[in-house]
């Protein structure tokens, strides 16, 4: 009797088929390829800047036990939190409303353009699609003009600055929120539209006959059925807006309202040289929120993509 576990005629290695062994080797190789830079960054970020030699940046800092690996220190992370603290807060103030707004408005627009039928909706939809193809670079100068000269947002915002927790410079973040919402709206609408096209027309008609208004159909039928797509849109928009530097440089320019990507540019760079451990800690810190979003919404994201 044969105890071979592989399929008949297949070559085996320790009871596993060769095909499977190769698959795992490739997978492990790919894992290493993606993880080593992160691991290196993480190790570098906990080395004391004074002992950072750069010889073996991927080894844990074990001096003086192992020479040439640097000394363990949380100094870079402390520095990163100090240096990016303000930027992180500003980024959160920007990203959370901008993501929710673009998702919600995109979903509403898609509902109006897909589930409800009315004359001229295709024309409006084409405008949305055209919006996707406007390059960032083309709007930089108009954006500055718009927020600094056309719309007196700074003056309009003045009364709000008196509220607790609101600062005068927040007007720039408000401008950024509106800009990102507007710029993200077309792609969000497109994603939701694809989802809504698959929903049954008869279900919406049944709701109409049940006496529901258009607003009620959206709130009670469409919105609950959009949750997987919201996960996709939220993750996408969160990452986009969090990582954006171009609009931030254009609208915020400099000062207290600078977001985390702006602060990241200059941290750890000085005349005396680059503080690599500090830069690594700052980079990891700045990337952390997007990573958390993926971890927490990943399963819903997968569901939404598959939907």
């Amino acid at each position: 009797m044969s105890t071979e576990t592989g399929r008949a005629g297949e070559r085996t290695l320790f009871g596993h088929s060769l095909r499977r062994v190769i698959l795992y080797v490739v997978l492990v190789g790919m894992g290493a390829f993606y993880l080593i830079p992160i691991e290196t960054g993480l190790m570098t970020s906990i080395i004391s800047p004074e002992t950072y030699t750069g010889n073996f940046p991927y080894l844990p800092p074990l001096e003086p036990l192992v020479p040439g690996t640097g000394e363990l220190s949380l100094e870079p992370w402390r520095g990163a939190i100090d240096g990016l603290g303000q930027g992180l807060v500003n980024s959160v103030i920007l990203v959370v409303p901008a993501t929710i707004l673009s998702g919600l408005l995109g979903s509403m627009a898609a509902f109006g353009l897909t589930t409800i039928s009315w004359r001229g909706q295709i024309g409006i939809y084409i405008l949305f699609v055209a919006g996707i193809f406007i390059p960032y670079q083309a709007v930089l100068v108009p954006l500055t003009q718009f927020w600094y000269n056309v719309v007196p947002l700074r003056e309009l915002f003045e009364p709000l600055a008196a509220l607790p927790l609101v600062e005068t410079y927040h007007w720039k973040l408000l401008a950024l929120i509106i800009t990102h919402t507007a710029y993200g709206l077309p792609i969000c609408t497109l994603l939701f539209r694809a989802h809504y096209k698959k929903l049954s027309d008869e279900m919406v008609e049944a709701a109409q006959l049940d006496g529901a208004s258009i607003a009620t159909i959206y709130r009670r039928i469409i919105l609950p059925l959009s949750i997987p797509m919201f996960a996709v849109v939220f993750i996408y928009q969160f990452t986009q807006i969090w990582n954006d530097l171009l609009f931030a440089l254009t609208i915020v320019q400099f000062g207290d309202a600078a977001v985390v990507t702006q602060d990241l540019v200059g941290i750890g760079v000085s005349q005396s040289g680059t503080n690599f451990p500090l830069r690594m800690a700052a980079a990891l810190l700045a990337a952390l929120p997007t990573l958390l979003v993926y971890i927490f919404f990943g399963d819903k994201f997968a569901k939404g993509v598959a939907a």
Binding site: S200, E202, M203, E205, A206, A207, Q208, L209, D210, G211, A212, S213, T216, R220, I221, P224, L225
Partner: protein, 384 residues
């Protein structure tokens, strides 16, 4: 509960290239309070469009729809107080059965939560879905979803029910059960119902009256037996009944009709009906053709024929017959005989076409010139 009137209802769709397509053409029907009307016709005949116009899901191009005497053309679906059961059931997938059934009451009435709760419970009991109330539609079988969809329509106690092929996604056995149950429920609730189907069996068995549509035009409205025995035209005659009526295109030759080897003598009244025509379509239902063993033709209504194919159905056999098997592409027709009778392909038999059972139609227009003997009074009295 109210009477529903369709008055010259027309629907014209305009295509992108400007072409106009008339989907429903001047349809007028009066549906009495509590009546069960079945709209039947082949696919694309405009029956669903008609139903959707009653529901308010399609605009009406011309004509008027009245519910309880009130014009409802301009009313949005939400204000018509009409419930509809869709072919796909169209349940709300994220809601439980209870929530599905409560939705319409919450949106269209001022009922308190307790009243809604008890109304839903009563309807669930009627529909025998009480134990499903807390489940989601995706956990239910097709038949259960069907019951929930019906329950959702019934719970609102609307003025009228509209049903768009509600049974077509069920398997044959369940469909037969639900057919009976639907009739029972409609009878109990006594709500005006318009039921759309392409299945003539459903139409015959369920409707108080049936309305037959073809190509957007109403062909006939009548009780199932009227439509079956006295069709207005060849389309109705062929559409209602399974296996369908036999048709022969025949030349009028004085007192006889002639085609190939088939010659049929006409009675005086029938002769009058075909007067002035050179061709007519002769029709007879398969069950009206009598088959007997060969041996002598006793009158002119009997013919020697050959059995071509036999389709046993258990209760009866459908046999395909031909006057002459030897010629190419012979005229064939069907007859039904008892399932216990032994007939096999190639047998020579004698077929009788009783003169009281024949139909005659105009070749060009299809209009019925003469229908079989049928007295609806007699038919009803026999049942009583």
């Amino acid at each position: 509960m109210a009477e529903l009137t369709l008055d010259g209802v027309t629907k014209v769709f305009t295509e992108d290239d400007g072409n106009e397509i008339t989907a429903v053409d001047e349809v007028s029907v009066d549906i009495e309070d509590g009546e069960f009307l079945v709209l039947v016709g082949p696919s694309g005949c405009g029956k669903s469009t008609t139903l959707r116009m009653i529901a308010g899901l399609e605009t009406i191009t011309t004509g008027e729809i009245r519910l309880a005497g009130q014009r409802i053309n301009e009313k949005p679906p939400a204000e018509r107080d009409i419930a509809m059961v869709f072919q796909s059931y169209a349940l709300y997938p994220h809601m439980t059965v209870r929530e599905n059934m409560s939705f319409g009451l919450e949106e269209s009435t001022e009922m308190s939560d307790d009243e809604i709760e008890s109304t839903v419970a009563d309807t669930a009991e009627l529909m025998e879905i009480k134990e499903l109330l807390d489940r989601k539609p995706s956990d239910l079988s097709g038949g259960q979803q069907q019951r929930v969809a019906l329950g959702r329509a019934i719970v609102r106690a609307p003025e009228a029910f509209l049903m768009d092929e509600p049974l077509s996604n069920l398997d044959a056995k369940l469909r037969a059960t639900m057919r009976t149950e639907l009739q029972r429920i409609q009878d109990d609730l006594d709500v005006t119902t318009v039921y759309v189907t392409h299945d003539q069996t459903e139409a015959m068995t369920m409707g108080d009256r049936i309305a037959i549509l073809d190509d957007g035009m109403l062909q006939q409205v009548g009780t199932p037996l009227e439509c079956y025995h006295t069709p207005n035209n060849r389309f109705v005659a062929g559409f209602i009944g399974d296996p369908s009526m036999n048709f022969f295109e025949m030349a009028v030759d004085g007192e006889r009709l002639v085609v190939d080897r088939f010659e049929y003598p006409l009675k005086p009244a029938q002769q009058e009906a075909v007067a002035g025509k050179s061709n007519v379509v002769f029709g007879i239902r398969p069950e009206d053709i009598r088959i007997k063993e060969p041996g002598g033709l006793s009158d002119n209504y009997q013919f020697e024929v050959t059995v071509d194919v036999v389709e046993p159905r258990g209760d009866e056999n459908t046999i395909h017959l031909t006057f002459d098997r030897s010629i190419d592409d012979p005229v064939t027709f069907t007859a039904t005989v008892s399932g216990l009778r032994e007939v096999s392909a190639g047998d020579e038999v004698v077929a009788t076409f009783p003169p009281d059972s024949i139909h005659l139609f105009d070749t060009d227009t299809g209009v019925a010139l003469h229908n079989r003997m049928f007295d609806s009074e007699d038919a009803t009295q026999q049942v009583l």
